[in-house]
């Protein structure tokens, strides 16, 4: 053992507090050893992936059996990533009874551990915002990046099992992005083209991630960075390049203390770089059959914006329009009557899931339009689906009348 452990931590690891806690500790300590962590640190909260039955499959149930032996509970507030279906409207999404039964068992198990079944990739949109300097164990890659970049909290890109282990023990190993020096930028990106839509932010992230896998960027000349713009940039950086932290001059909390003398490379992001990404995701030859918005999950403001562009227009025949969000945001949309308005115009809003982790989208549609490069990236991996990337206002013009 390389790492220093307190007496209490040694006891947890040795099995004195049960097998589930021992396995969880072993996982955190061994990963920490590999990355040369010197000690464990307490976390403020956790966000756990490994929820959709589509991705976890049958194997998850065997692991749940092991965890059930000791009746463990999470030690810190913990939130869940999206499931493979809307927990209420799964039949409308053409999810099978068998899938639904297994999905329900998975969510119930996590709830039994004391985890809040938020079923969202964007807990920060529903009140769970981290504070600067908080140590966290989050696993959804876009949320990891938002926590680090937009809020100045500290989390590595945890895996599904390690985030759960940290939730159960309240600890993580002190390495990677928990350490100040590792948060310095490596690449300076001068943004020479205007970012005018969410998909422009998404294109910038996707372009950078493809070129500089894993390296922390420092963006200059970005004029605006609200949470809805920040989440599109974060998700794209993570999807194409596993980037877990970015800084934007004057607009992110740690940007003031950045020393640009140490950056290894300075590059420009131009209009033609932006167009490369739109051209890459321009695969549809026939008419689209589905629009998907909400990767990451849509905020209340995102939905208001869609409603504003839509005004009194209706969806064209033969095209469906799905927005993915959390159940909490959906309830807020319902409360201010946006929901009935959108539904009456042919737009569907699904909670608890998304186009990436539900089988519903790729199994039932072939030609899909989205404004998110992360969604486009994963949907275009399925051999049966073609994807176009477009800004939101262009999408609305194309599919409504």
């Amino acid at each position: 053992m390389i790492m220093f452990l307190t007496k209490d931590q040694e006891e947890m690891l040795s099995g004195m507090k049960g097998e589930a806690i021992a396995k969880s500790m072993e996982l955190i300590v061994k990963i920490g050893d590999v990355y040369n962590a010197k000690q464990l640190i307490p976390i403020t909260n956790a966000q756990v992936a490994g929820v959709s039955y589509l991705t976890v499959g049958e194997s998850i149930f065997s692991y749940f059996e092991l965890l059930s032996k000791d009746a463990v509970k999470v030690k810190v507030p913990t939130w869940l990533n999206p499931a493979g279906m809307d927990m209420k409207k799964w039949k409308e999404m053409k999810i099978s009874e068998d899938f639904a039964e297994k999905q329900l068992r998975i969510v119930n198990f996590y709830e039994g551990l004391g985890i809040n079944p938020t079923l969202t990739c964007a807990p920060y949109l529903i009140g769970h915002t981290p504070s600067q300097g908080d140590h966290l164990a989050w696993s959804e890659s876009s949320a990891v990046s938002i926590a680090n970049s937009f809020y100045g909290a500290r989390t590595n890109r945890e895996g599904a099992p390690s985030s759960l282990a940290s939730a159960i023990t309240g600890l993580t190993a002190n390495y990677g992005l928990h350490i100040t020096e590792n948060r310095n930028p490596r690449i300076l990106v001068d943004v020479r083209t205007k970012l005018e839509s969410f998909s422009d932010y998404s294109a910038l992230g996707y372009w950078y991630g493809q070129k500089f896998h894993g390296s922390v960027p420092y963006f200059v000349n970005i004029q605006s960075l609200n949470i809805n713009e920040a989440k599109m940039l974060a998700a794209a950086l993570a999807a194409s390049g596993s980037v877990a932290l970015y800084h934007v001059k004057d607009l992110t909390p740690e940007s003031k203390s950045i020393d640009t003398e140490n950056v290894e490379e300075k590059i420009e992001f131009t209009e033609s770089n932006k167009n490369e990404i739109y051209n890459h995701f321009n695969q549809i030859n026939e008419g689209p059959d589905l629009v998907v918005i909400g990767c990451p999950h849509a905020s209340h403001e995102d939905v208001k914006l869609i409603s504003g562009i839509l005004q009194s227009r209706q969806m064209k025949d033969g095209i469906e329009f799905w927005i993915f969000t959390s159940s909490k945001t959906k309830a807020a949309i319902d409360a201010d009557s946006l929901l009935t308005n959108l539904e009456s115009r042919g737009i569907k809003i699904y909670a608890d899931t998304c186009m990436v982790v539900s089988p519903s989208v790729s199994e039932n549609f072939q030609n899909i339009i989205t404004n998110s490069t992360k969604a486009a990236h994963y949907l275009s991996k399925a051999k049966t689906t073609m994807v176009n990337l477009l800004p939101l206002d262009s999408i609305m013009k194309e599919v409504t009348e």
Binding site: L27, S59, G159, A160, S162
Partner: protein, 136 residues
């Protein structure tokens, strides 16, 4: 021939090598019920990990892959040991959950030295990987 390694999950086992020259996404590339490689583009497509010493460069893809490694153990189709060029969190977490010996950072270029079918011994207390018998 002895090769130095870094032990991550302890154990001493002897077995036959199954070597993948490509990084493995346990989610999608491996069937946790049969232990077989189901990535049709892999050069070891259709081979089973069961009772082999599985040698591969590194894990990749979804972190849910750790649960697939655990599933291999539960379904009695797990490898005897995992040898990576460089282990990352997906493989480390999976090996710990499943209790499968895991080593990495071989001090020689393993991929030019061992091949599928060779008999090797992993000994984490000695920090060695020993080639016992060459596949003819």
């Amino acid at each position: 021939m002895k090769i130095g390694i870094r032990p991550i999950v302890e154990g001493k086992v002897t077995g036959s090598v199954l070597l993948s020259p490509h990084p493995i996404s346990f989610l999608g590339d491996v069937d946790s019920e049969t232990g077989k490689i189901i990535d049709s583009e892999s050069s070891i497509y259709g081979k089973s990990l069961k009772n082999t010493i599985f040698v591969f460069p590194r894990g990749k893809g979804s972190t849910v892959g750790s649960y697939i490694i655990y599933g291999l153990r539960v379904n009695n189709v797990s490898p005897l040991a995992l040898v990576a060029e460089e282990a990352e969190t997906i493989v480390i977490a999976g090996a710990i959950l499943a209790g499968i010996p895991l080593v990495d950072l071989p001090d020689k270029d393993l991929f030019s030295i061992v091949k599928t079918g060779d008999i090797i011994t992993i000994d984490t207390s000695e920090k060695t990987l020993t080639i016992q018998k060459r596949e003819k």
